[in-house]
């Protein structure tokens, strides 16, 4: 089964470039991740981080209201 795939793919030119591609993917990934995290709003993070400890309906509502305020 695998030999068919194997034989086909050996013919790919320049497959040795994989390590360089992986290095680039690595750097791009982390740069995007940091931009993503630090561009996020602090208030939203605070709202979400309260999710586990809100049990009562009134807490949830207050939390959601804050969240709505944030958007408007």
């Amino acid at each position: 089964m695998l030999k068919y795939i194997k034989n086909h793919m050996t013919s790919i030119d320049g497959i040795e470039i994989y390590p360089i591609i992986s290095l680039s993917i690595f750097f791009i990934f982390f740069i995007l991740l940091f931009i993503y995290v630090f561009a996020g709003s602090k208030k939203r993070f605070e709202t979400v981080s309260m999710y586990p400890i809100l049990d009562k309906e009134s807490d949830v509502i207050t939390n959601e209201i804050n969240d709505q305020k944030l958007k408007n």
Partner: protein
């Protein structure tokens, strides 16, 4: 605001919690039996209770039954509450529960009887693999559908970890389980040798990452804030923790294969990513511990927090140790020794065990609307378990150092100090005994917990459906609070799933695809030939008995190894090994150069005698007796089918082999049986013709044929060249 009323499903959580406790104790007891067998080999009572078959049962039970049920219990509890909704389908929840228990039972009914694929932590045979896949889809379907009907805007970070767990475990399980069935309970891995090793350890390492770690990190991010009643220390850090962890983890598998025949570039990638892993791992650990900032006084009183603090600390320790062990310097010493076993148990007993216990002490009183039956007993459990972990791990670390250094010890004249491998094993018995005691203590703690939780349940009233209220989710498509990407990723679970999938596929793809396709990675050796039909059957017995649990087949290119075993192992020697049998632990010596033509080669009779009474042939050996193999006739029903399957996997068996396989088997077994008969005669033992035929047609002969073939093909080449 429109407030909706609904109820959380606690019944499903209760079922999984109960299964966690029961399978936890069972799995640990099996572990204790295996630990005792290393001290008293007589404890290998029957074939189905022998170490090689019991050890996979232990690992599978604690990983998939104990931790697996723990994951489901925690996810089913926290998911509903984080999303402010009931599980999407009670029916799917129950299929998930009963299906998982049936899979565990099928493991109990196959592994001790020698039905195994021979790949660590993936030993279950193909029909069970398919059942696991279907069940996993049921779990994911129910989870994703629940996420889609949620009453909150965002997905809390714990849920990200659950989604990544679902996606990655699915990918790992499916790829590593590519196998070609011979019959209902026997299959061969599609991959062979080096490629099989890479896929297996990509799977094996990420089973640790995505079954034992990411779901538990999700649980940590839910239960620690819950128990401490304060939000996580830094939500930003948790986002970095999540993405960095799933991105880096998937690359780290090759650190299990350092100095093996795996191409160097793949080994190096594995090391580099393993070292980098310490950053997100410790980020996560600190995030968990710092959540308790200003609330450390609570840890003194709250038993749930106590367990969780030790769990997170153990997580920190093993994620420091992991990158360290993946450095070649440390790996040379630690690999194949008990150091690895100690390391995984800091993770297993410390991180998974203690977090599970903490979670159960939180869940059961909550769901039974009361208080924990005895706080005092839970405190005892905490101390017994903590001491148990130390008593388990410290002797094993010591055993690892002792044995590792003994293997490497050279005399000034360049010869090995401990020439006999056995000398390095008999030294370890006291440490093994202490380890068993530590493990036993840990189990005593778990039994105390079971009693405490049952009492709690008896005194309380179970709330099967917990009433809750929450405002309906207002779809706000105009929200511009923080940009497109945050909305795209954190509010769209399906996209989250796809992005996680892409992130985890990158590392696997970069490592695995070139190893499969670039021919230069696996240089072939012309003298390496497929196993004879008898050897192939013998190899299946080797796999079935779980010999790989104690014997490696990989001589590393290190002087202290080549001096002991002979020529180091080459990638080209394993091209017909479906599956590979390199092993990960040397409780016994390496067998890669056990066969004819090597300096360690022994006579057929020696193997015969040694398999029957190992402790007498090698004084002090802790190997179980395999005397039953001489009484069991070799079943040739599937031999032809096996050869045909091997041909479809690319092994070049000729038509003449297929046509004459029975004759070839007769010839080879006759030769081996005659050698044994001759040596017995030399010792003054005459055997009847009936006895001779019994030996000749036994499983033992097939196994000996295989052992005599190990690592001998490369010598053929030299013989031809010399001519």
């Amino acid at each position: 605001m429109n407030v909706e009323k609904f109820a959380y499903d606690n019944s499903i959580v209760k079922k999984f919690a109960l299964a966690t406790v029961i399978w936890g104790i069972v799995g640990m007891l099996v572990g204790l039996l295996a630990a005792l067998q290393l001290v008293w080999p007589e404890a290998n009572l029957t074939s189905w209770l022998s170490f090689g078959r019991i050890r996979p049962l232990h690992t599978n039970a604690v990983i998939f039954a104990f931790v697996g049920n723990g994951i489901f219990a925690g996810v089913y509890y926290s998911l509903q509450r984080l999303l402010k909704t009931r599980m999407w389908s009670d029916k799917l929840s129950n299929i998930n529960f009963w299906g998982w228990q049936i899979i565990i039972l099928s493991a109990v009914l196959t592994l001790p009887f020698g039905y195994t694929t021979g790949k660590e932590y993936a030993e279950l045979e193909w029909p069970i693999d398919i059942a696991i896949t279907l069940l996993w889809v049921v779990f994911g379907w129910n989870m994703m559908a629940t996420i889609l009907v949620r009453r909150v805007q965002h997905l809390y970070v714990a849920i990200w970890f659950y989604i990544a767990t679902f996606v990655t475990v699915a990918v790992l399980h499916i790829v590593n389980s590519f196998e070609f069935p011979v019959n209902a309970l026997k299959s061969y891995s599609v991959f062979a040798g080096v490629q099989d090793a890479l896929v297996q350890w990509w799977y094996g390492h990420n089973a640790v990452a995505f079954f034992l770690t990411t779901p538990y990190l999700g649980l940590m991010y839910y239960f620690i804030p819950k128990a401490a009643d304060r939000p996580v220390y830094s939500y930003r850090l948790s986002i970095i923790h999540f993405w960095a962890l799933i991105f880096l983890y998937i690359w780290a598998g090759p650190h299990h294969l350092l100095y093996t025949s795996l191409p160097d570039w793949a080994q190096s990638l594995g090391v580099v990513f393993s070292v980098m892993l310490i950053a997100p791992s410790w980020g996560g650990m600190l995030n968990g511990l710092l959540t308790l900032r200003g609330a450390w006084d609570k840890v003194r009183d709250d038993v749930v927090l106590k367990f969780m603090v030790v769990a997170v600390t153990a997580y920190g320790m093993s994620t420091f140790e992991g990158p360290m062990l993946s450095l070649k310097f440390f790996n040379t010493l630690s690999h194949f020794t008990d150091w690895t076993i100690a390391h995984v148990h800091i993770g297993g007993l410390g991180w998974n065990g203690m977090l599970t216990f903490g979670m159960l002490y939180y869940l059961i009183p909550k769901m039974y609307g009361g208080k924990l039956y005895s706080k005092k007993l839970a405190n005892y459990h905490f101390w017994i378990a903590t001491i148990g972990i130390l008593l388990y791990a410290v002797p094993l670390y010591w055993a690892g150092f002792v044995q590792g250094f003994m293997w490497q010890d050279f005399n000034p004249d360049g010869t090995l100090v401990n020439k006999d491998f056995l000398e390095t094993v008999t030294q370890l018995k006291p440490y093994y005994a202490m380890r068993a005691a530590g493990g036993a203590l840990y189990i005593v703690g778990a039994i105390l917990m079971a009693y405490n939780l049952v009492k709690t349940a008896v005194h309380g009233t179970f709330i099967a459906n917990e009433d809750a209220e929450a405002p309906a989710l207002v779809k706000n498509t105009k929200a511009h609070d923080d940009g497109y990407w945050h909305r795209v990723i954190e509010r769209k679970p399906m996209r989250m799933l796809v992005i996680s999938l892409i992130v985890i596929l990158i590392g696997g793809a970069v490592e695995i695809i070139p190893t499969l396709i670039v021919k230069s990675n696996i240089p072939t050796i012309s003298s390496v030939q497929p196993y004879t039909p008898l050897e192939l059957e013998g190899r299946d017995i080797y796999i079935s008995e779980g010999c790989y649990n104690c014997h490696s087949q990989m001589v590393r290119p290190l002087r202290f190894e080549t001096e002991r075993y002979g020529e180091y192992s080459k990638a080209g020697e394993f091209v017909y090994d479906h599956p590979f049998q390199w092993g990960s632990k040397r409780t016994g010596p390496d067998l890669a150069r056990e066969g004819k033509g090597n300096k360690l080669a022994k006579s057929d009779y020696w193997h015969y005698d040694h398999l029957i009474r190992p402790a007498e042939v090698s004084k002090g050996s802790i190997m179980p007796s395999y005397a039953f193999l001489k009484d069991d006739p070799l079943d040739r029903t599937y031999t032809k089918k096996k050869l045909e399957v091997m041909i479809s996997l690319g092994v070049p068996y000729t038509d003449s082999t297929l046509a004459n396989y029975e004759m070839m088997m007769d010839q080879q077994s006759d030769e081996i049986a005659k050698n044994i008969e001759k040596d017995l005669k030399g010792l003054g033992v005459e055997i009847s013709e009936a006895k001779f035929n019994e030996i000749k047609n036994s499983k033992m002969i097939a196994l000996i044929a295989y052992l005599q073939r190990l690592g001998s093909d490369i010598h053929n080449e030299q013989v031809t060249e010399n001519k």
